[in-house]
Symmetry: C2
Subunit: 133 residues, 2 copies
């Protein structure tokens, strides 16, 4: 079970580096050196971050990326949404009737309640909150 996939992970690391170097424009080339990630993959990821308004991109020589928002406004959930789609712990199971008790079975509500808790916990995490301390 993966709460966070590789692309979200790379995105966080890249953003993390960019935050630590605010004021400069950071190129993929530089990021790849720092993060040791596959270059074309990282390009795709950064492009998506651009499209989704997390980063601003600058073309041409000396180009690269800068933050488009403040770190405190970049939520982990945003990134997960971009790379992993809408946050959802699990689909409903028990679609078919196999037991008279089943309609009242607790599994769905248990899962829902777990999902809610995880969501609440995750939804406060921002790029900024990952920095401080």
């Amino acid at each position: 079970m993966k709460l966070i996939t590789r692309d979200t992970d790379y995105a966080i690391r890249a953003l993390n580096y960019i935050v630590c170097n605010e004021g400069r424009t950071i190129s993929i080339t530089e990021l790849v050196k720092e993060l040791d990630t596959p270059k074309p993959f990282l390009r795709k990821i950064l492009q998506l971050l651009g499209i989704n308004g997390i980063l601003k991109s600058y073309k041409g020589k000396n180009g690269g990326f800068r933050l488009a928002r403040e770190p405190k406004e970049i939520f982990l959930l945003d990134l997960m949404q971009i790379f992993q789609g809408k946050f959802k712990i699990s689909e409903c199971i028990f679609k078919k009737n196999t037991c008279p008790n089943q309609e009242h079975c607790l599994l769905k509500s248990e899962i829902d309640s777990i999902e809610k808790i995880v969501f609440e916990k995750i939804s406060v995490i921002t790029l900024k909150s990952l920095q401080k301390k």
Copy 2:
């Protein structure tokens, strides 16, 4: 993101049906009719439940499966363990240094704390708790 995979799901449904029909030996053939799952897949699943001491199996004509333990002793976590391996929300990310703050970054501890909560929530769910009410 899937908390529970298809095989765990089928296993729960099958066990659920078996619980609701305790006293009888239930064959795959009967289960497939009830649950509308692929037969060979369900066979594999039930076999694993047998190997792992959740079910007792009876070969030969009129054979099938019965519970090997009481429903209150069959934990969702047991099933997840069997079909999905050790419970783990996510691997540690941020393996490489990209920022001086990073070693103290909160992501790992956030994930760990989420994992802990989910684990606690899930660990009380048993086949029995899925039945009542």
